[in-house]
Amino acid sequence: MKFTLIYPKWKKLRGQTEFHLPPHGPVVFAATLPRDMEIAFIDENLETIDFNDQADLVGISMMLTSQVKRGWEIADEYRKRGVKAICGGIATMLHSEETSLHADAIFLGEAEGRMEQVLNDFRNNRLRKVYDYLTDFPPIASVGMARRDILKRQLYNYKGIQMVDLFHASRGCRFDCYPCCMSFVGGREFRPRPIKKVVEELTAIDNNRLYIVDNSLSQDMAWEKQLFAEMIPLKKKWCCHPIDDHDEVLDLAAQAGAWFVYQAIFDTSDFIRNRVKRYHDFGIGVEGTILLGLDHHTEDDIHRLIDFLLEIELDVAEFTVLTPFPHTRAFADLHGEGRILSYDWNDYTCDQVVFQPKQMSPERLQDLYDEAWKIFYRDKPQAYRMFELFKRVIDKEMVDGSFQGQQRTQKNRKFGRVKL
C-alpha cells in the first residue's frame, strides 16, 4: 500500500531571508504508520506534486493556517482522481469544519496508537469522516522515534550547510499565551517525553544541529535540568523556545549545546532586557520574535520597541503582526468585537494586518511592520547578523571538536522563492 504524505506550500514571511527546514509534523506522524508501509513524502515548498503518482491513500499534514487553502486544493485534486484523502496536523485541528468539506477523513489530535484503526477502516472502505481525539492524548511514552528517513535530506541543504533537524522532547503547554493556539491543540498539561527515549532519538539523528520545537522548555525545572544534563555528552548544538532563567539551568543548557533561543518580545520591559542579557551572559544567542499590533501598541511604542531591540543587542529579529488564529484568545476578542478584516486564511501569514488595530489604521500598522525590518537591519544587515549567529555555533563546535564543515558537493544548492 502506497501512502503519499504531503506538506502543502505556504507563503513565507515577507522581509525574512528564505529558508526551509525539514518539517517536523509529518515525520512524527509517519512514526505512527506501520513500518512496512510505503511512504512517499512530498514537501511542496521544495518539490512539485505528481497527482498521478498511483497513491492508494493521501495524507495531508498541515501545521499553519496559511497552508490550509492549498491543502484543501490538493485534497480536491486527488479526490477528483478517485484517491481518498485524509487531513491532519495542527491547522486541521484549527480549521476542522472547513477541512472536512475537502477530505474523506480528518484526524484531530495526536496519532500515536490510532493509525492501525484508521488504516483498517480505509482498507474496509468504512473510513470515518472525523477521527476526533482532540482532548484524548495518547500516553506520552508511546511517542516513537520520528521517521526522518522519509525526508529527502538534500532538499534541506543550503550551499553545503545542512539545515537544523527538528525534534521534540515534550508536548502540551501550561501557558495560554494570548496569540497562541497550543493550549487548544496540545492541552495545558505539560507532558514531557521520557528522557531515555529523548536521548535515544537525539543520538540517532544524523545532524549535529537541531531545533528543539517544544512550546517552551521552561515548564518543569527538574525535568529541564535532567534533560540538559543528559544532552551534554551528545555534543549537539540547538536552538529552542524559552529556557528557565536560573543559573544552574542556563549553565547546563549552555553545556548541552544551547546555540540560540527564540524569545517572544512585545514590550520594552526590564523583564525582556534582563532575559536577553542573561542568555547572552551564558553564551546563548537570542532571536526575538517581535509581535506588533497589540491593543496597547501605539506608533510611538512600536518605534520605541525597535530602538529597544538594538539597545539590548538582540542578535536577530523576526517581526510579525498580531494574527488572530482560530481557537486563540486573540481570535475570540477580535472576532467578538467585529474587528477581523479578512477571513481569507492565505492572508494569515503573520506579515499582513488582518484586523482593525486599536491605536492606528491597518495601513499604518502595515507600514510600521515594514519599517521595523528596515530599521532593525539598517546598520547591520540580516545576512551579516545571521552570519554572526552561524559563527556562534561554529565557534562552539570548534571548541568541542564536533564541527563537520561544509559539504562541498552541495555547495551550489540554494533555496529560491516558490511561486504561489
Binding site: K159, G160, P381, Y384, M386
Partner: protein, 87 residues
C-alpha cells in the same frame, strides 16, 4: 588600491562560485548585502572571512563591532586589508 580591488573581485568570484560573473560586473562600491547590491548571504560572509584569513592572514577579531563596516562593499574590504598591512 585598484589592483587589490581587481584581485579581490577575482578571489570573491572564485570563492563564492559566482558562475557567469566577470570582475567588471561587480561594482566595488555597491553594498554587498540586500536588494540592489551584490546580494550576499550569511554563508557568503563566512566564505569571505575564510578568504581573508587564508589569502591575507586577516582575522576578523571582533566581528560584532567592525564587521558590517568592513564587509559593506568590496572597496571597504580592500581598504581594511591595506589598513591592516600598514600596521
Amino acid at each position: 588600491m585598484e589592483d587589490l580591488i581587481l584581485k579581490l573581485k577575482k578571489e570573491i568570484i572564485d570563492q563564492l562560485q559566482m558562475e557567469g560573473i566577470a570582475p567588471e560586473d561587480l561594482d566595488a562600491e555597491a553594498p554587498l548585502f540586500g536588494e540592489g547590491g551584490v546580494g550576499l548571504d550569511s554563508i557568503d560572509v563566512l566564505e569571505l572571512v575564510v578568504l581573508l584569513d587564508r589569502n591575507y592572514g586577516m582575522k576578523i577579531r571582533a566581528p560584532k563591532e567592525e564587521g558590517p563596516k568592513i564587509f559593506y562593499s568590496i572597496k571597504t574590504i580592500a581598504e581594511y586589508i591595506l589598513d591592516q598591512q600598514k600596521k
